[in-house]
């Protein structure tokens, strides 16, 4: 199998288009017993904020039909502890490390991005704009086109790394947001983050999650993610990374055929920590069986 799997995402070269999604892969090390991390196209670490965050009280997760809800509440060690304690180990991995970042204010976002400029081993930042904007009464940054644009501009103005902006699906028209984020200078887009959902314990008549609502991920959301990726690739000209419900190579290939230049695997890592290696192998096998010797000859080839 000598299929060319390399893709370029906003100036970043990945050995293959398979990344791990933020929040589902810890800081990489957690998976090192189960997977050769060198095989990955990229590793996106758990969302980082300026200060460490404790996150929400448990219960934080609950299973749903073909998926799960989580309300972890963006628990993380903070960007500085990440650089000091987690990054040194990650530098030993022969893959691309992308830092997922978020903030409660626009300045937070810019500050985290700036701190990461000097972090050796971080190849790009992915900006999670799906978190609530404390200044605007908890409405998420990513659901308002103007605010999404503003966050992007703020991060771009300070970052010397490629900036990927991660879009939320909880919007009426994702292409509107995508267009504004592209206009603000984003180097690439990733989508989708989780869809807000809820689940109730009918015995106790309480929400299953302490936080009441949580983010739905897993195969349940794949059709929605794929539709939104399709809409966005038809709207912007920067690279789009597909995320949402990818469990195997077949799912990943759907996103590539629709036009995503790369994919992220999230919840599937929980069910099988070695799943990304299987996806890469099976993707390569599919391509060679079809006689496709460069993955670019597959990307965006949907016939409609």
């Amino acid at each position: 199998m000598n299929v060319k799997m390399t893709v370029d995402i906003g100036g970043l070269t990945l050995k293959n288009p398979v990344m791990t999604a933020s929040g589902t892969f810890g800081y990489g090390e957690e998976y090192s017993d189960y997977l050769d991390l060198d095989r990955l196209g990229a590793i996106i670490v758990k969302g980082l904020s300026l200060k460490p965050r404790e996150g929400n009280l448990p219960p934080r997760i609950v299973e749903t039909a073909s998926g799960m809800l989580n309300a972890v509440g963006l628990q993380n060690v903070g960007v500085r502890a990440f650089i000091d304690d987690k990054l040194p180990w990650l530098r030993s991995v022969d893959s691309v490390v992308i830092a997922n970042i978020f903030g409660e204010t626009i300045e937070d976002y810019a500050n985290v991005a700036e701190i990461l400029n000097d972090a050796e081993g971080v190849a790009a930042v992915e900006v999670n704009i799906s978190c609530p904007n404390v200044k605007r009464g908890g409405i998420t940054f990513g659901s308002d086109p103007a605010v999404a644009e503003e966050v992007t501009r703020a991060v771009k103005s300070v970052s010397r790394l490629p900036v990927i902006v991660k879009l939320t699906p909880n919007v009426t028209d994702i292409t509107k947001i995508a267009r504004r984020v592209e206009a603000a200078g984003a180097d690439a887009l990733s989508l989708i983050n989780t869809i807000t959902g809820m689940s109730v314990d009918i015995e106790k008549r309480v929400p299953h999650l302490k936080n009441v609502t949580g983010g739905l991920s897993g195969p349940a959301i794949k059709p929605v993610a794929l539709r939104m990726v399709w809409e966005v690739v038809n709207t912007v000209s920067i690279p789009v990374i597909g995320v949402g419900g990818i469990m195997n190579a077949r799912d990943a290939l759907e996103f590539l055929i629709v036009g995503a230049k790369a994919v992220q695997v999230g919840t599937a890592n929980f069910l099988n920590p070695g799943v990304t290696a299987d996806i890469i192998d099976d993707m390569e096998r599919y391509l060679s069986e079809k006689g496709i010797d460069d993955i670019h000859d597959l990307i965006g080839t949907l016939k409609v």
Binding site: G23, T24, F25, G26, E30, Y31, D33, Y34, K46, E54, G55, L57, P58, P59, R60, I61, V62, E63, T64, A65, S66, G67, M68, N70, V72, Q75, D201, K204, V206, H208, L209, K210, G218, P219, M247, T267, N269, F270, L271, N272, P273
Partner: protein, 252 residues
Amino acid sequence: MVLKVSASFMASLPGQFVMVRMRNGDDPFLSRPFSIYSAYSRGNDTYIEILYKVVGKGTEAFSRLREGDILNILGPLGRGFDIPSTCKKIALIAGGVGIAPLSFLAERYGEDIRGMEILCYMGAGTSESLAGLDRLEDLCSGVKISTDDGSRGHHGPVTELFKQDMDLYSDDDIQLYSCGPNPMLMSLQELLKDRPFACQVSLEERMACGIGACLGCVVKIKSGETGGGLVRVCKEGPVFDIYSVEFSEYNG
């Protein structure tokens, strides 16, 4: 349930667990955590056992399995029980299937430290739900039983049964191990306020990954040496010092 596994499982420690998932289909979706109930080898093959109670669709699906079916098993996971070399007696306090890791502990203790006195307090809903009792009677110097409905042994919670015996023990030679539903662990914690015997508990929380990546399984730990705060049951636990846990009514 007896599972044939890879040889690496021979290193399983009491208190460690496995994540189990049906091989086919996405329903149930997540893997389910189960304590290792025993681990041994026969010939070239390694086996582990788990003891499970049917409570929902995952365990129901297990109950439909037949010999020869294949499952996805990840493990052994988590930090097991600490086995201090100083104590002379240990007491196991189990609620329901909480007996599983404690039984495995007794098995290993029996192998490692011959002559150790192991006492077991075992509580269950009814006499029928006393799974694992026979094995324990072989492994322990004494087994006392309580049931919620009084159908066997003491009529009432297992913590009451243990309370009756508390005065028989002294602080410096006993080590307690406990596993069971949160309300039971909470009353044990309460009980130990006056007599702070060393006590390790194995906790349960909903889990997605089992390997420390999703941050789904946290429990509140009082600040102490390990930092405290919201700590992962799958990685820093499932075994904790009972005095460090801030229990809250389980909510999901």
